[in-house]
Amino acid sequence: MKKRIYLDHAATTYLDLRVKKVMDDFWIKNFGNPSSLYKEGRLAKKAIEESRLKIARFINAKPQEIIFTAGGTESDNLAIFGVANNFKKGHIITTKFEHHAVLNACKKLEELGFEVSYLDVGEKGIVSLKDFKRALKKETVLVSIMYANNEIGTIQPIAEIGKIIKDFRNSKTSDFKTYPLFHVDACQAAGYLDLNVEKLGVDLMTVNGSKIYGPKGIGFLYIKSGVKISPLLYGGEQERGLRPGTENVPAIVGLAKAFELAQKERDKESKRLTSLRDYFIKRLTKEIPRVYLNGDSKDRLPNNINVSILGVEGESVVLYLDEKGVSCSTGSACTSESLEPSHVIMALGGPYEYGHGSLRFTLGKCNKKSDIDYVMKILPDIVKKLRAISAVK
C-alpha cells in the first residue's frame, strides 16, 4: 500500500504505542471484574482507581469527581440530561456550533419543554461574552459550551464564562444559588489546552480517549462535588451509580495513560503544531486563489486548519486527495446524511458556498512539514481541475 498522509486527527487519532503497552496486561492477564472481592477483582479495581487519581490530578480535581463513560457523546449526554432530568422545565444556554452530541441533546430537551438559547458565534467562531451575559436568566439551569470547536478549532473563553456564571449565581437572592451549572465539552481541547477545572470554573467537563491517542469508546465526565446528576442508565453501583455496568478496565487504563501523555507533551507539541499550522494556512491562502480561512486565525487549536475553497465542492476534493494518499474531511452537505452543509461553517454567517467548499485538515503527532509540502504540491492542481468542471466560477 502507498504511504498515507493522515491529516484528520480531529476525527480520531491512532493509539500511542505507550498507551497500548499499559493496556496489554488488562485483556488476559488481569481480566478481573473490579467489583469482585478476590485478587483478580482487587487488581482491576486498583487499576481503575489509579487511573482515576491520575486524571484527577491533571485537571486539579478530586478522584471521586471523575466518572468513566463510553466516550464523548455519552459524557455530553450524561451531563446535559443528568442535570435537566432533575427539572421538569427550565432554560439552557448553548451555542449554534456545538458538537451534535450537545446540540441534539438540547433539541430533545426543547421537545420536552425546556427553553434553549443557541448563541451566535460570529464570523470568527467565538462566543461573545456580552451575548452570553444577556442570555442568562434566573431560570437558566445549565450552560453547555465547547472548549474548542471540532471543525474550525476556535477556542471559547471558558474561564471568562465561568467567572460570569459565578458572579451571576452570587447575585441571586433565591435559594437557586447553585444554578446554572456549567458544562464544557473539552474533547478537542484535551491535547492542547489547560484543563484545570478550578481555573476554568466548570462544574461538568467531557473528555474522551479517541482524540488524544487513547482508545476509542472510552471517556470521562468530571462532575464537581455537590453537583446533582441523575444517571442515564440504571444498574449496579459502579461509578457511584452514575454509570452502571462492568467497567472497561483496559480502556480506562489506556485513557489515563493517554491523558497523562497528552498533558505532559502538550506545551511542546502545541508549539510545534502551531508553527506548522500557520505555515499551512499561509501557503493555502497564498498559493490557491479564492481560499478563505474559517474561524479566528489566532484563537484556534494548534492543529486545526479549516478553509473554504470557493467554486469546488468539498467531497470531490476529499476524494481526489484520498486518491493521492491524503486523508482530510469536509463540511460539505454531500458527506452528511442530512444533506445540509456543516452547521459550524454556516454558523459563521457566510453563504452556502463556504460550507460546501470547506476542507478541514487537523494535524497530529505523526505529521511533519514535508506532509504539508506534499499537499501543497497536489492540491492546487486538484482545485484547478474541479474548478474547470465547476459551473460556479
Binding site: E313, G314, E315, S332, C334
Partner: protein, 141 residues
C-alpha cells in the same frame, strides 16, 4: 477489507476521476443550440448543460456540461453525457426518457441519499431541450 474498495462503485470512480464531455471553458455563443441550468446553492449542486441538435434527425450531436458538485454529481453527469452521445447521439425524445434510475444503474448503483440531490443531468437536459424548442419556436411535446 483493505479500504481499497472505493466509497462508491468503480464506475462512479471512473467517471469522477476522468469525467467525459465536460466544458473546460464556457462555450461560445454559437457553438451550441441551447443551454439548461438547474440546482441551487443550498444543496450544493449547480449544473449547466449545453446541447447541439441535428435539426434534420433530431439527434443530440454534441453535449457539454459543467457542475459544481460532489463526486456523484460529477460522475452521474459524465455518465449521462456518455449515454446520450453513444452511437452518433440519441434522438431527443429517447434521451428525454432517461431517468435518474437509469443513470444510477449505468453507474453500478448510487446510495439512496445521494440520489435526489446529485443526479440532475436529466433535469438539466430537459431544461436545455425546452430552451432549444422555445428558440426554434416549436411547441414543447
Amino acid at each position: 477489507m483493505d479500504g481499497d474498495n472505493w466509497y462508491y462503485s468503480n464506475k462512479v470512480k471512473e467517471h469522477f476521476f476522468k469525467p467525459k464531455n465536460f466544458a473546460i471553458k464556457e462555450p461560445k455563443e454559437n457553438e451550441f443550440d441551447a443551454m439548461g441550468e438547474v440546482g441551487n446553492f443550498a444543496c450544493g449542486d449547480i449544473m449547466r448543460m449545453w446541447i447541439k441538435i441535428d435539426p434534420k434527425t433530431d439527434r443530440v450531436k454534441d453535449l457539454k456540461w459543467q457542475t459544481w458538485g460532489c463526486a456523484t454529481a460529477i460522475a452521474s453527469t459524465s455518465a449521462f453525457s456518455e449515454m446520450v452521445l453513444k452511437n452518433g447521439g440519441m434522438k431527443i425524445e429517447n434521451a428525454l426518457k432517461i431517468k435518474p434510475q437509469d443513470i444510477a444503474k449505468y453507474l453500478g448503483g448510487l446510495p439512496d441519499r445521494k440520489f435526489h440531490c446529485s443526479v440532475m443531468a436529466d433535469l438539466a437536459f430537459k431544461k436545455a431541450v425546452e430552451n432549444y424548442r422555445q428558440a426554434k419556436n416549436l411547441t414543447p411535446s
